[in-house]
């Protein structure tokens, strides 16, 4: 069989098929009509998550503990964003201390009543009180666990019934690379984030029969206020251990949260995905 009988490959008309995933991302409506709650949404990673999900059409209510100025900055950024994306959803703020179970319950009920549902919950509220074990105060330990672990329970419990009743939902917890990779001066924080990784897996088992997916995003060192001290004290050493050679940006985390929040991850549950530039592997 000679080549003359077979059309040369190069001679075929080149037509690149559309990439369905890319098409969906471009359409900026991955989360159209989704009611979303983001805890700790006034600053840092939480703010980026709020803006990223809203840009995809989600109606987001974020909870914040006390920093009203920061919450207003998030609202202002959301207002600015709504003029630049095609399908931006609404963004609202609610002041709630996640350490208070009753306040959480009341706030969640109010949000659900207004929206008629809760489709997605992102547990992003967290604090850090780093110190070596010998210098940690009892308050350092209690406060970190109260916000980072008990706070997650306080929000989860009133949210889950709304998802169970609809037989669907997505829960995304934000933990940390510290939950798996040892780090000096982070025993309290590491314990809290390891707990969230474990909670994610156990809850995924409990909620799977009702089509509620639970996943976790574990950021590495992200350029936020929270990591400023670490970056200043040991920035070069830490960076040298990050395979990609740079600190992450809040958007790096928010984009993965978007994946878990959207239908792109409808067959994924109980996972902890590290967004750390390879830090955990080094």
């Amino acid at each position: 069989m000679g080549n003359s009988q077979i059309p040369m490959r190069q001679s075929l008309p080149i037509e690149t098929p559309p990439n369905p995933t890319q098409q969906r991302m471009d359409s900026a409506n991955l989360l159209e009509n989704k009611a979303v709650i983001v805890t700790g949404g006034s600053r840092g990673i939480g703010r980026s998550i709020v803006l990223t999900l809203a840009a995809q059409g989600a109606d987001v209510t974020f909870l914040y503990c006390s920093n009203e100025a920061a919450a207003n900055e998030t609202l202002a950024a959301a207002a600015e964003l709504s003029g630049t994306v095609k399908a931006g959803g609404t963004v609202k703020a609610k002041r709630v201390d996640v350490r208070n179970a009753e306040s959480c319950e009341q706030a969640i009920d109010e949000i659900a009543e207004e929206a008629g549902k809760i489709d997605i919950l992102v547990n992003s509220a967290g604090i850090i009180r780093d110190n070596i074990l010998g210098l940690l105060t009892n308050d350092d330990i209690q406060e970190v666990l109260a916000t980072n672990v008990v706070g997650v329970f306080n929000v989860l419990r009133p949210v889950i019934p709304y998802m169970v009743s609809k037989r669907r939902g997505k829960i995304i917890n934000i933990s940390s690379v510290a939950g798996e990779k040892g780090g000096r001066g982070q025993t309290n924080y590491a314990a809290s984030k390891g707990a969230i990784n474990a909670l994610t897996k156990a809850l995924a088992v409990e909620l799977a029969p009702r089509n509620i997916l639970v996943n976790c995003v574990a950021p590495g060192v992200i350029e936020t206020e929270m990591t400023e001290a670490i970056r200043q004290q040991a920035g070069d050493v830490v960076k040298s251990r990050i395979l990609l050679g740079r600190f992450g940006q809040p958007e790096d985390v928010a984009n993965v949260v978007l994946f878990f929040a959207s239908s792109l991850s409808d067959y994924v549950t109980g996972q902890v995905l590290h967004v750390d530039g390879g830090f955990k592997m080094s």
Partner: protein, 143 residues
């Protein structure tokens, strides 16, 4: 707390709405909700449905049912260590549990009984008791 602790009027006032609420939560027919049906074995409830059921009952009857209330109540006056040892209900615990869940047929209590299997015993009547008790407490608090 046994069924005899409740009046027929109390049960009649609560059960129809309770059955409707539970049927909605479990996605089954209202007729399937009988007082003695096992929620897990007969009505295919998942453990997470208990959270949903309590949530819905709170909304329907406008009462507050603290989370974990059933297990706490089922222990009665016994301490945790008197009620269970290494995840297995003790003999004293079983006697207390049978008294608390008096509506559950005796043959459903398997021995040894793991604490994790207690929810398999729950019936709509278990929740009916919770609602009536919460209503009474609420009425008492309002006086």
């Amino acid at each position: 707390m046994t069924q005899s602790d409740f009046t027929a009027e109390e049960i009649a006032a609560v059960f129809p709405k309770l059955a409707e609420t539970m049927a909605e939560a479990l996605g089954c027919d209202e007729e399937e909700i009988t007082l003695t049906a096992s929620l897990i074995d007969d009505l295919d409830a998942e453990s997470i449905d208990f959270l949903d059921i309590v949530f819905r009952l709170e909304k329907t009857f406008k009462v507050k049912i603290p989370r974990g209330k059933i297990l706490e109540d089922s222990r009665g006056p016994l301490s945790e260590s008197e009620f269970e040892q290494n995840g297995v209900v003790t003999s004293a615990g079983l006697t207390q549990l049978k008294a608390y869940l008096s509506e559950v047929p005796a043959e459903r209590f398997k021995t040894p009984l793991n604490v994790a299997d207690i929810p398999r015993l729950f019936t709509p009547e278990t929740f009916l008791k919770l609602v009536i008790k919460a209503q009474r407490e609420q009425a008492g608090a309002a006086q």
